[in-house]
């Protein structure tokens, strides 16, 4: 179980991690990185699956269904567009200094 202070410590350390990861990013990668971080919060999909998998009433099933649908859209869409963008950076790498 993650409770109280343990969760607070995780929040704090993960917060610093995110700050550190992005603070040295060159401007050219801002768009792909925003897209990449958009993909990372697509992990909401697993939460949606847990919520739907625990649904007991019709209301919960309907909302859970949409949660999974939206979460899957976030994860898949985020991955596809990020990969497409970064692919282009790879192809021009040879010409860079």
């Amino acid at each position: 179980m993650i409770e109280g202070y343990t969760a607070l410590y995780i929040f704090m350390l993960a917060g610093f991690t995110g700050y550190e990861v992005i603070s040295r990013v060159p401007v050219i990668l801002h768009t792909p990185l925003m897209s990449g971080s958009n993909f990372v919060h697509g992990i909401v999909l697993v939460g949606a699956m847990v919520a739907l998998g625990g649904a007991n009433s019709f209301t919960e099933q309907v909302i859970g269904f949409f949660a999974v649908l939206l979460g899957a859209g976030n994860a898949v869409g985020g991955y596809v567009v990020t990969e497409r963008m970064l692919d282009m950076f790879k192809s021009s790498k040879g010409a860079a200094k």
């Binding site: 993650i2 409770e3 969760a7 995780i10 993960a14 917060g15 995110g18 990861v21 992005i22 060159p26 401007v27 050219i28 990668l29 801002h30 768009t31 792909p32 990185l33 925003m34 897209s35 990449g36 971080s37 958009n38 990372v40 919060h41 992990i43 909401v44 999909l45 939460g47 949606a48 699956m49 847990v50 919520a51 998998g53 625990g54 007991n56 009433s57 909302i63 859970g64 269904f65 949409f66 949660a67 999974v68 939206l70 979460g71 899957a72 859209g73 976030n74 898949v76 985020g78 991955y79 596809v80 567009v81 970064l86 692919d87 282009m88 790879k90 192809s91 021009s92 790498k93 200094k97």
Partner: protein, 471 residues
């Protein structure tokens, strides 16, 4: 939660952080997204077989939902043009926010259904104060990110083009915010499902209403902010579900997104408060002071001659280049000029286009090497030594009133000093103003001439003209 599930979440969280780290460097960026993707696949697969999930019908729903959502996102993501990337990111981000809010809804409705009013039990009693609080906060933020991102998507995609719906909307928004917060507290002590429904309705409406008045030029900041919002919402719901992968990934994105939002807002000389409470788009255009000078227009032939005999040319791309898909033609033109011993550089304003780095993505797509592309700080001093500055589809980011006119909404925004070049040519579709709606003084300067036409078409004509004059 099974120990295998926990182990997979641990691996996913590590892969996300390593992946993001690699995405922050051009050389390893491609590998970064693959690592993060592997983390996602592992976490999703293991969750699917987690023993705590139950119900045959629930599994059917899950598979159908993943199929529909995944297929829709996959097919749109594969086919969307690079120029339309910002609105797609907004859309996928909104879906994430909606998912986080929906998780909260499931948990809250679930709790409200199990309440035993006989004992005066409420949602906070049943879930615990901490869980109830974070579920509600995550729902609040997730709802705003959901509907707000949809508005951002619709605006950037040209499907919707509204500004304030009615006078005093911003005061109304503040009131709506207060109402939503109040309803959130009501959910905390709710003894039935009604406050939950009202709360969600209010939060979803709030997202719509605060985003509608935002001017198009500010959208990058808004998308980035909603990205951070979704991250936070996911982290909060992760606490509710006792899911460490969601807490870590969500918080990392929340803080990274907040920093990115701040960097962007700074580059535009706007604060986040400004973006939401005084849309630049609503400012009146202020052309009266400049009408004493005339705009001059020239043909591509005249421009070609000047380009060929220039020592140094700086190309300044903006959103117009993206719309016209002109990046390939522009790079072809640049290569042609380089054969004539002209030094060609590309100057990119931090917020050119609809997102920071948007122009870099497009130029990379066309094959322009990194070492010819310069940030504003690197190149601004160079304009004074430049024979020709070629502006294609950029407007507000080269408007000198940002330096001179204290009354202009653009005042104080750092701009590219294009006006200091000996000759300035602006390729432009029509006489309209930029996204901010502010008249561009650059177009009236003595050393500026305008070439009217679609960016790709003009670039093709320039290539043709250069070739002819060489022959």
């Amino acid at each position: 939660m099974g120990s295998l599930t926990n182990l997979s979440y641990f691996a996913a969280a590590a892969l996300f952080i390593l992946g993001l780290k690699q995405m922050s460097k051009p050389l390893t960026a491609r590998r970064g997204i693959v690592w993060a993707g592997a983390g996602m696949v592992v976490a999703t697969l293991v969750t699917f077989f987690d023993p705590n999930l139950h119900g045959f019908f629930n599994y059917i729903l899950m598979i159908v939902a993943i199929g529909i959502g995944g297929y829709y996102a996959w097919s749109t993501g594969r086919t969307v043009a690079m120029t339309d990337m910002p609105q797609m990111i907004a859309l996928y981000n909104g879906m994430g926010g909606g998912a986080a809010a929906a998780i909260a809804a499931v948990e809250l409705f679930h709790a409200s259904g199990e309440l035993n009013p006989e004992y005066g039990q409420d949602v906070a009693n049943l879930l615990g104060n901490d869980v109830a609080l974070l579920a509600i906060m995550g729902a609040f933020i997730g709802c705003v990110a959901f509907t707000g991102s949809l508005v951002a998507w619709a605006k950037l995609d040209g499907r919707y083009n509204g500004s304030s719906l009615f006078p005093g909307q911003q005061k109304f928004n503040i009131a709506l915010f207060a109402l939503t917060a109040f309803l959130g507290m009501a959910v905390f002590n709710a003894e039935s499902a009604m406050p939950i429904i009202l709360f969600f309705a209010a939060a979803l409406t709030l997202g719509l209403f605060i985003t509608i008045p935002v001017g198009g030029a500010d959208m990058p900041v808004v998308i980035s902010l909603f990205n951070a919002f979704t991250g936070l919402a996911v982290a909060f719901e992760g606490y509710v579900l006792n899911n460490a992968a969601m807490i870590i990934a969500g918080t990392v994105v929340g803080s990274a997104g907040t920093l990115l939002t701040h960097l962007m807002a700074k580059a535009m000389n706007r604060s986040v408060k400004n973006v939401f409470f005084s849309g630049v788009g609503s400012a009146q255009s202020q052309g009266s002071a400049m009408t004493d000078k005339e705009m001059k227009s020239v043909t591509p032939n005249d421009v070609a001659a000047n380009l060929m005999f220039a020592g140094q040319v700086i190309i300044v791309p903006g959103y117009g280049m993206a719309v016209a898909q002109a990046q390939h033609k522009i790079w072809e033109l640049a290569q042609l000029l380089e054969k004539e011993d002209v030094t060609v550089k590309f100057a990119i304003h931090p917020v050119a286009g609809r997102m920071p780095g948007h122009m870099n993505v497009l130029l990379a797509e066309a094959g322009v090497p990194y070492d010819k592309i310069f940030d504003m700080d690197e190149i601004n001093a160079d304009f004074a030594n430049t024979d020709v500055a070629l502006v294609i589809g950029a407007n507000d980011v080269v408007n000198p009133v940002a330096r001179t006119d204290k009354n202009s909404p653009l005042y104080g925004m750092p701009i590219l000093n294009v006006d200091q070049a000996r000759n300035v040519y602006v390729i432009k579709r029509g006489k309209g103003t930029g996204f901010s709606g502010v008249e561009n003084q650059l177009f009236y300067e003595d050393n500026t001439s305008l070439v009217y036409g679609d960016g790709a078409k003009v670039a093709a004509e320039l290539i043709q003209a250069v070739k002819e004059q060489k022959a």
